[in-house]
């Protein structure tokens, strides 16, 4: 059994309890959610949800079949890892009281093509986007400078080319 990070995309009815039903099913089948993002779609009556979970892909496929039965789920699919673009976003607050630390922080933020959202005499807030690995690498590089707080969105993802979630 090979454990990899699977990306599952959902289009669901935008109403109370749907996210609960999804996470409850994932719990019942004994999977753990690594990240979850959800927001109402262009049409206010649907929500797009992206969930990632570390598990065997075949087992995730069985889970997807179970969830596709749920009445409030319009479409659910495990995205093909070879054709999936996935992005994570982090807001990272760094401790930069030392001018040398601030200079180094700005260099690393630039290296990761991050944005500086706020500079105070002793703190910097950076916005970093990239693959989940890139965002993790950034955290590792700035760790010695001092991370006061970090908030990550979790992964959102889409497939390349004409393949869409709604297309079978």
């Amino acid at each position: 059994m090979t454990m990899s990070l699977n990306v599952i995309s959902f289009l669901v009815e935008n109403k109370p309890g749907v996210l609960f039903n999804i996470s409850n099913t994932i719990r019942r089948k004994n999977f753990n959610i690594h990240s979850i993002t959800a927001i109402a779609g262009e049409h206010e009556d649907t929500t797009r949800i992206t969930i990632t979970s570390k598990a065997d892909a075949h087992e995730i496929d069985k889970l997807v079949e179970q969830m596709s039965k749920m009445v409030d789920i319009i479409r659910v699919k495990r995205l093909d890892p070879l054709r999936t673009i996935q992005r994570d976003l982090a807001l990272v607050k760094l401790h930069t009281a030392d001018p040398m630390a601030q200079e180094e922080a700005l260099e690393i933020i630039n290296k990761y093509k991050g944005l500086i959202l706020d500079i105070k005499p002793d703190t910097v807030i950076a916005q970093i986007t990239g693959s989940v690995n890139e965002v993790s690498d950034f955290h590792e590089e700035v760790n010695h400078i001092g991370v006061i707080e970090s908030a990550r969105t979790g992964i959102t993802a889409i497939e390349k080319g004409w393949v869409t979630l709604m297309e079978k």
């Binding site: 009815e13 309890g17 609960f20 409850n24 079949e65 039965k69 789920i73």
Partner: protein, 557 residues
Amino acid sequence: MTKTTGSRAYIKTLENEGVTHMFGITGAALIPICDDLLDSKIKYIPGVHEQGSAHMADGYARASGKPGIVQVTSGPGATNIVTGVATAQLDSAPLVCFTGQVPMNMVGTDAFQEVDIIGVTASITKWNYQVRDPARIPWAVKAGMYVSNTGRKGAVVIDLPKNVTTEEAEYDYDVKVELEGYKPVIDPDPHELDTAVKVLTEAERPVIMAGGGVIASGAGKELAQLAELLMAPVATSLMGKGAIPSNHPLSLGLCGMHGRHEANYMVPDADVLLVVGARFSDRTTANLSGFAPNAKIVHIDIDRSEIDKNVSSITKVIGDARHALSGLYKRLMVQNIRTNGWHNRITEVKQYCETYDYGTDISTPNIIRSIRQALPNDAIVTTDVGQHQMFAALHYDVYESGTFLTSGGLGTMGWGLPAAIGAKAAKPDRKVLAICGDGGFHMTENNLTVAVDEDLPIIAVVLNNKLLGMVAQWQRLFMDGRLSTVDRDYSVDYTELSKTYGAHAVRTETLDEFNKAMREAVDADYTTVIEVPIDPNENVFPHIPPGMGLKDILTDD
């Protein structure tokens, strides 16, 4: 359009949907609805405990093929139906539960008799929904009925906050139920049928395994037709019992942990196993390595997620069992089917296995055979759960599809009696009989009140071994005979107790007495309870020990 209350809209939509019976118990959250019920033609059958009412609605659904309706109040009324909901869901029975709820402005405040029944039933329903806008009532009722009784059938809970039932709105009774995420496949894909046909035509030793899906879709005739064409013997799961008449020459009977020898010998020998509307439960397959190890499995199911869930198939057909079977039959009819010698093997195995010595004692198998002889062919039998259930599955012959009802998936003790009452409400012209053990009977015997006072006469046969027999059997076989927590040698006298409820009741000590009591009960138009003391040391054989394969059968010799 004129404005009316949510409560009236609810009753009117139920009537429009063809609902004629409703089971349940009232309560504060339901007072507006109960007032409107007075003006309705829907027959309301009051229960004595919500679990029993839910089982009645379940039995009604299984006997009629229509959704069974149960209506209970908020809080404890709602939590009391949880077992009934799970029982129906696990056996894919169309049950629609309406639960009262505190008004929306009190939801979430731990108000009196408030419970989050939507959260509680999330993982045991096919769908659940809380109506928050009175104008949505017709939609919610219609959607609930539609979801429960289409595709793979199941349980639905609709929660009705009290203010939603008292507020007025304009109602659209013709509202269309369109659920974008719910599109059950009925007609199978022709390509899937073609592939299945290719596998079936190459079969030399085909066996069919039929499950509850055959009964749910009314595919008994199509199944027999296909089996005869292929000369394929038919084994069934517990839920599939009755999918093919027990006296059909190709019927092998029950397969699995307590399956018949014929079935458990033939299934592993198959080179092609056609599985129809069955889900490969652990009780049916026993250890998976011994379950048809050399067979190519063709799996027909209406629920795509059952394909390859427990057992991998070589090809699948997604769709309604009746449509799929007739599609296969039409394609296979024009083919040259090889049936060389396989039917000889069927006869050979059946002859080898027909060695059951019934004797003349008042044993459970003999009681079950007597029940069969006394009842008309179209009678409906329900069972409870335990040894008597397995004895009935082994020895009760079913001639008409859908006349043997049992709690298979959840194994709910106490189900048999209330389910029989519900079945009687659905089919008042049929004889309905519940086979119970003393343990299960004592869990819900108070429902006799409903049978007697609502004039739903049934027969209940209580096989009393003063023991929780199935657990005792496992302890005898696998725990060195150390019986623990199974003793039921209570002071209660079930015959006298049944009389107190107003039923006719009799205790029979011999097979002759039992046969006489059965004849009287079948002729009577009142509820009869027949108590039969039986040997507490009786074991149900065949029995495959847990973890073993289909051919590793324990017998009594």
